[in-house]
Symmetry: C2
Subunit: 188 residues, 2 copies
């Protein structure tokens, strides 16, 4: 017998995030997540491969957003402006999820394995951006460096945005960080 | 009974690197490393905490070199020039170790856990550089961005240097990558 489980994925995600925040990622089991969500373990595994995936299921969506936006910028744009457009698109998506992003960041900061996973996610993002720039005809090392610069701006901005109170304007912070990077590399 | 073991550390390192290259990091045991070096496991553990440390024992030396060089640059220097001085110092050290660096990179590329470790090493390096810049009075986000830019240049250059044949000039490649980053962020 199967029954209809409205927003099962969302309920599982919220239950998992709350439990990770309350008792830590390591000390939370899938059984507990399912129980808190009022669902079964079987339902959990229909939505997530394991408890870590609850935190990283958005990674491929983020990567697709970066790559698709970058690929869609007119080829006449300078590589850094194409990368900036991708960062803007990501910032617009994050903007509505400040509370979630902050909760997630605190869970990750408390666990070494999750921090490693986050670094891998960013490294993959950089590789994907560099590959897209190369397909747009940007030679190396410019393609790799523009991608790394973009991820550096994203990483530094994300930390500032997370640390901010109220609802800091991520697109605005992205522009500020990009300008700061330009000033820094210009030797100012 | 203790006996004198000339260059035990170097012999263990070479034996470990050769075994990791021949049969992979995962399939190599400390027993085999010690045997290949003609030494005991006990001697191995006097020099290295575990078999992974053979590959990462140089990380703290590299970090000290970066931080000490950066801290020693006159405060009048622009942050990016201070970071460039640190990269130059590192490049000079790497220059004599091309064969070793290449062998190490191939071992790391073949193992996901080692790749994660390498990413963590670079992230720590960036954090250390940013902290040193802040102590020199560079405000954020410029300090974090200059550090991230430096690590990006290092990472991209290192890959080009490793891929090169003969004995590519790493200090020269560092300057080229830094110029390429400056051109990229200037929108060229």
């Amino acid at each position: 017998m199967s029954r209809w489980e409205p927003d099962a994925r969302g309920r599982l995600e919220r239950a998992a995030m709350d439990l990770y925040s309350e008792r830590g990622f390591e000390r939370t089991t899938v059984t507990e997540i399912a129980r808190r969500a009022g669902l079964t373990e079987r339902t959990f595994f229909r939505h997530f491969a394991d408890k870590r995936e609850v935190l990283f299921a958005g990674s491929s969506t983020l990567q697709d957003l970066f790559v698709d936006t970058l690929a869609g910028v007119p080829e006449s744009a300078a590589p850094i402006d194409a990368v900036a457009a991708a960062l803007d698109a990501a910032a617009a998506v994050f903007q509505d999820r400040h509370a979630y992003a902050r909760q997630r960041q605190m869970i990750i900061a408390a666990n070494a394995e999750l921090q490693e996973r986050e670094l891998i996610k960013l490294a993959r993002l950089s590789t994907a951006l560099a590959g897209t720039l190369r397909r747009r005809g940007v030679p190396d090392p410019a393609a790799s460096l523009a991608a790394e610069a973009g991820i550096a701006v994203f990483k530094v901005t994300f930390e500032r945005w997370i640390a901010g109170t109220g609802r800091p304007d991520m697109p605005q912070l992205i522009r500020e960080s990009l300008d700061a990077l330009k000033a820094v590399t210009a030797g100012r």
